[in-house]
Symmetry: C2
Subunit: 785 residues, 2 copies
């Protein structure tokens, strides 16, 4: 049931057979240049923005699966037999195969016809290019004469046109070959050059896809590979590719290394230095070393050692690794997100920023300011923005008469709050940021406007109007009155108010604090008096004022989010809190995770809208929508039920999927957006891997709530809520200029409750770990009791 395993140090996932149920991919990126690569070499690249600067092409959802990619062909010139050392695209059965996805690099190794091949793909830290190091070794006693072909298919820069406007875009490419290098640009040059070069003499090349592949042939059997030589074609219009052919003679046991480099530049001339550097074995080795050091530094900012190996593996490596990817690319570009329409999500990027403030405070600071400039004066925000311009927009499906998403702007408050607690950098609140209309205000002013917007847009039940939708993008609840309301946003609003109260107090705006506390109090009372259904909190009201997620509903009776957030937002009284989470367990718990709600909608309902456009158990129609599961972890931790919390964490943890890949399908080293629910014939199948808020919230739930390490404005809280069976565990964490080495003793087998806390051997009475900012290591000993 498994297609691979983690390396012993956990820093690599090693795939041992090529035919994974979906392409299992890796992101190689310096946050500017990004290359996605699958375990068989499939994938594509872009520069800064996948919509406007797409470099390599990908045929999504293709038959055959996962084409094209960064391909190599080895052709034995004695026998004319050829194969791909990455299995795809030739698909010959290799004698040996292994793919190692590591931190910022991927290595694919194989053996066929006595030739050992190893390709290391990576993107260096400081240049916008990708490197393919191709090591060939002859393991037999006979000399081998081979030709090596490299293949990369360019996208015509503008990814949308490349898919949809063929009659135009198929007439704009221009290629050239000079100094052992293929250059490609659009004729109008406004979008720069791509170049492809090699450490070895290119004997022949092709720049025209059709000339290389041949009519009615495919990547599996290119006509030029069959013939053993390229045709030196140029693309003038049509489909540009970078194909090179290099002849290699390998004596018995001889090893040769060919390095390929593919990148983007402003001017052809500027490629010279880059090519020189990245085709030099020593330099490339050095760059790989720098990459490794950089990722180690990233991971070293938070390290744990608990009795649970999966927990350690996920928290120490793969969850933070995925969080860097979601921070960089939001929900914009993957093998399932085509990097065209969506852009970077406002709510998504806000949440992504909440997970990595401890390690990337500067980048988070900038992102928060970038986000804020997509706010309108009235307080609402654009739903998405684009990385090249930073400018936002509403998606086409947005409801023109309800042109806001009711949660978007509120996430900004929560994200800024987290940043402030992590860094103590109150100066960010004074930063002057423009509104969409052109006027400006401090970031603090922006936060206030976010509150104002929700306050000014309440409905008949005095709950926030849902607008186009809330966090659930498909909960559109259309209707002529534009009157549908979100209980969940009411809870989020309460949470945002509490956060802004704290900020206002620290920021010496106590009048604001008083006023926001009042609004919060009234919203809390209001939610408790109007949305408690007897056993749980309802989810929303339709345009007609009908409840959703209520006992009186036949379908969509109980929703997860209003139970978890009743607790997270500190709205639920204690008895209701326990009760509603018990109901969650009763109705929504499955072997693969918690359902978004239950029962699924069995038919389309125009009053509910988007949510009922999915068949039961898919996506927002009652799948295990993973993003929401860590909220249950947090809620259970807040209730002190450590074993339950851990169970919920574990159910969707990627590592625990490793032995069930034939059910789970997607990569067992990262989170996916959803897992099909129990009414689907493939119950347990994950979809849309990599780009999901699950990454950020699982990290937060695990580190802040299970492990209980929570920054505040003035100190670090250590208040774990763990499985009773854990006897002890250790956390090393960077916080406000010092390293904290925290050891927790649970010899009494509890879940929660700090009896004693010592820092550097001294008991701390208020159990709050002080801020030192002295660049030293401090030892924290915590005794549960």
């Amino acid at each position: 049931m498994n297609y691979g395993n983690f390396s012993s140090d956990g820093k690599e996932y090693i795939i041992t057979r090529p035919d994974t149920p979906t392409p299992w991919i890796n992101y190689l990126s310096n946050s500017n240049y990004c290359a996605m690569i699958s375990n068989t070499g499939g994938g594509y690249s872009f520069h800064v923005d996948p919509r406007d600067r797409r470099i390599l092409r990908y045929r999504y959802n293709n038959v055959p699966m996962d084409r094209p990619g960064r391909y190599l062909y080895i052709r034995d010139n004695h026998t004319s037999e050829y194969w791909s050392p990455t299995w795809q695209p030739v698909l010959k059965n290799l004698d040996e195969y292994k793919c190692r996805h590591g931190l910022g690099y991927t290595i694919i190794e194989s053996l066929y016809q006595g030739i050992k091949a190893k390709i290391t793909y990576f993107v260096p830290l400081d240049n916008d290019l990708e490197v393919w190091i191709f090591t060939l070794k002859n393991t037999i006693t006979k000399q081998k004469e081979i030709s090596v072909f490299s293949y990369a298919e360019f996208c015509l820069w503008r990814a949308l046109g490349d898919q949809n406007d063929l009659q135009y875009i198929q007439n704009v490419a221009l290629t050239s070959f000079a100094n052992n290098t293929i250059y490609y640009s659009l004729f109008d040059r406004s979008t720069r050059y791509a170049f492809f070069s090699s450490s070895h003499q290119i004997n022949s090349y092709d720049c025209d896809r059709e000339a290389f592949i041949g009519p009615y042939h495919s990547e599996s059997n290119p006509i030029r590979v069959e013939k053993g030589k390229c045709s030196n074609s140029q693309a003038l219009g049509g489909n540009p590719v970078a194909v090179t052919c290099t002849d290699v003679i390998l004596d018995p046991e001889e090893e040769k290394i060919i390095i390929y480099v593919l990148g983007v530049i402003d001017e052809k001339n500027n490629s010279k230095g880059l090519i020189q550097k990245y085709t030099d074995q020593k330099e490339v080795k050095l760059e790989l070393q720098k990459l490794s050091t950089s990722w180690d530094a990233y991971l070293d900012a938070f390290k744990i050692n608990t009795p649970d190996k999966n927990f350690n593996l996920v928290l120490n490596v793969w969850n933070p690794y995925q969080c860097r990817t979601t921070f960089d690319w939001s929900r914009y570009v993957s093998f399932y997100e085509t990097g065209i329409g969506r852009g970077m999500g406002f709510r998504d990027s806000s949440q992504d920023a909440m997970a990595i403030g401890y390690v990337y405070p500067k980048r988070v600071r900038q992102r928060l300011l970038d986000l804020a400039q997509n706010q309108f004066e009235e307080g609402k925000v654009y739903h998405v923005f684009f990385p090249l311009s930073g400018k936002g927009t509403f998606p086409e499906y947005a409801n023109k008469e309800r042109l806001f998403f009711s949660d978007d702007h509120l996430w900004m408050i929560l994200a800024v709050s987290d940043y402030l607690k992590e860094t103590g950098d109150m100066s960010i609140l004074d930063e002057n940021v423009k509104f969409v209309e052109g006027s400006d205000g401090s970031l603090y002013d922006h936060l206030k406007r976010a509150i104002e917007f929700t306050k000014n847009n309440l409905g008949n039940h005095k709950l926030p109007l849902i607008g186009t939708a809330d966090w659930n993008d498909t909960m559109s609840l259309p209707g002529p009155n534009n009157a549908s309301e979100s209980v969940w946003v009411g809870m989020q609003f309460h949470k945002a108010l509490l956060s802004l109260v704290e900020i206002a107090e620290k920021y010496d705006h106590s009048n604001d604090a008083i006023s926001y506390r009042k609004i919060a109090h009234s919203m809390k009372e209001h939610i408790n008096s109007t949305t408690w259904d007897g056993d749980w909190y309802i989810r929303a009201f339709t345009d007609n004022g009908e409840p959703i997620g209520s006992k009186i509903c036949d379908e969509g009776k109980i929703f997860l989010n209003t139970q978890t957030w009743a607790i997270i937002s500190e709205i639920a009284p204690k008895d209701r809190a326990y009760h509603c989470m018990d109901e969650v367990r009763k109705f929504l718990n499955t072997e693969y995770g918690l359902l978004l709600f239950d029962p699924p909608y069995t038919k389309f309902n125009p009053e509910l809208g988007g949510i009922t456009t999915f068949p039961p158990s898919l996506k927002e129609n009652a799948s295990i929508f993973c993003h929401t599961n860590p909220w249950a972890v947090i809620a259970e931790c807040m209730l002190g039920r450590g074993d339950l919390a851990f169970e919920y964490w574990e159910k969707i943890a990627p590592t625990t999927k490793n032995m069930m890949s034939k059910i789970h399908y997607t990569e067992p080293y990262i989170y996916s957006q959803m897992i099909t629910g129990r009414d689907h014939p493939k119950f347990g199948m994950a979809k849309n891997s990599w780009l999901t808020g699950t990454a950020a919230w699982s990290l937060k739930a695990a580190t802040e709530w299970i492990l209980g390490i929570r920054p505040t404005f003035d100190a670090l809280i250590v208040d774990p809520c763990i499985p009773k069976a854990w006897e002890k565990f250790q956390i090393i964490r960077w916080f406000r200029g010092a390293l904290y080495n925290i050891e927790v003793d649970n010899s009494k087998s509890l879940s929660k409750g700090v009896k004693e806390l010592r820092v550097d051997s001294k008991i701390v009475e208020d159990q709050l770990v002080p801020i030192y900012n002295d660049n030293k290591t401090h030892h924290v000993n915590v005794l549960l009791g």
Copy 2:
């Protein structure tokens, strides 16, 4: 050099080898349901609008080329060998192969392993579905046990999402199987059902693409065909397909016929009658007969017999056939136009309507009224509109500060003028039509507003401001002043004014006629005094007032359109007319047609914009842009140079490409949008076949100007301009309720000049053929002299 030939009656193009340079396709359509099919079974289908109601999926610009399609697999159950009787997708070398593209049907025949296969694909006249009639014959002396698989891959209805929004759209499909029929819909059902059924018992089926194809397999080797049986899978989300498996035993010499039917319906239940009818051999034969009768009637409205076989073949069959397709689908949907963004073009549909008024007066009338409702009160029009709603829009690339295309609205006048002359139906001018803003006016009022708009939007040279662009969509001539002007639109404006003068006079609005004649006169004077460059007319002025298409330019010196239209629009004095067309011949004539201009632009020029985003000799940067060539035919006819006119007609005529398909690439039975110019390494390669204004204008040029049959308000003109070598020719044409059998005698070897014209044996003094409207045949004898 050829891949096929025309049948002896000219009504079929018979392809004799499957590996054509591009997919050679046919449109099977009743103007509602449309199926495109290539010579190897590739292609897709849609219902009314290819954007919103896409039925079958196509992977444009794919590797391998031309996938997927309406596929069949034959599997010999003794040997387990399988193949496709359409060559694709299995690509086995067939013993025999033939594809016959006919009028509204396509037949693919093959022989392999002793099994003769013949598939007839067609769309019936009156139901929205397609039929595949699969005839199998065992030609050997041994019994054959075979399994037959059919394959159709559904698109997820919304074609844009199907390509770009995978994370959503991959979770909405729903299939079911009942009564020997596969049903597919979206869960929200708002877009109806597709069904797929068969005349024979379906032994097993698959609705989930991945279950049928198998991971890392393709259409070439589906895992279920390899196994010999389907898996009865359903799609719940994912990729729906209609795959069926039927077991067939064929005795020696036995023939069996399996009929497949694929269509769209509102409700599942409504499919029963359709399936019953279209799986019945007799009924299907009857429908095929009706289809044939209908196309014969279409073609019978205009028939010619001249000494030139190619001319006859193009005019009698393929040019009108293509004109029906462009009228139906404008530039919206083909193998190169993805049927997503562009919609139906305003200018395109106006011109398409000008070609088929003689045969489809009612449809043209409706189209003209539909077009007019996309006009704004100020007179400009939306650039495109969508068939489902009839509603228009501007494309995204439109210049927001110049939100109009300067030619669009003027085409409406020319199209209405043609309609009036063809039909005499002046009542259309009284039809009340809404403007975009909601107010309304008569169609005549709409025409007047079109004139007003251009009159009110003149630039510094008193020529029409170009707006976003003119007929040349890439001649954007951007700049801060929004001041660029089009000489060509000035000419078109003059032509539109003359047309409206005629209309106004007939419509008893003589004051309008007087006023428009004045404007026309002044525009004519003005163009002649400011845009004659000494040897030809310049093309435009940039935002800075610099001329384009002038002798002072290094590139883009002479443009075809302002020479041909100087004559067509009756602006050029006689001496200038001959001179500028001589210059056209000198500078723009090539072996494959007339260049759009010369020399090509060799680098991007931001002051010219779009036109310089193409490398030289591609698209609007000095290719042979075919649409413009018939204008040269018309101009030469107006100048009386019949041999020259015919040479220009012949150069781009599809039939003349038949023996040079390895150079021409696209279908030799229809026109393509462009042919690469002489600076391209593949000079003579055509691109973007089928949807082009070339179809309509070639038909007009040939019939109205070479043959010289031109309707007027009160009569039919017969005034040919032919090659001198033609001794005689005959035309049969329907006009105003009577059939005219016209015979022209050119025994004096002239090009032009009617000496004598007789109708029903009587000499007609004014040489105008009268309107009879008596449903009879009238004999017209014309003597050139």
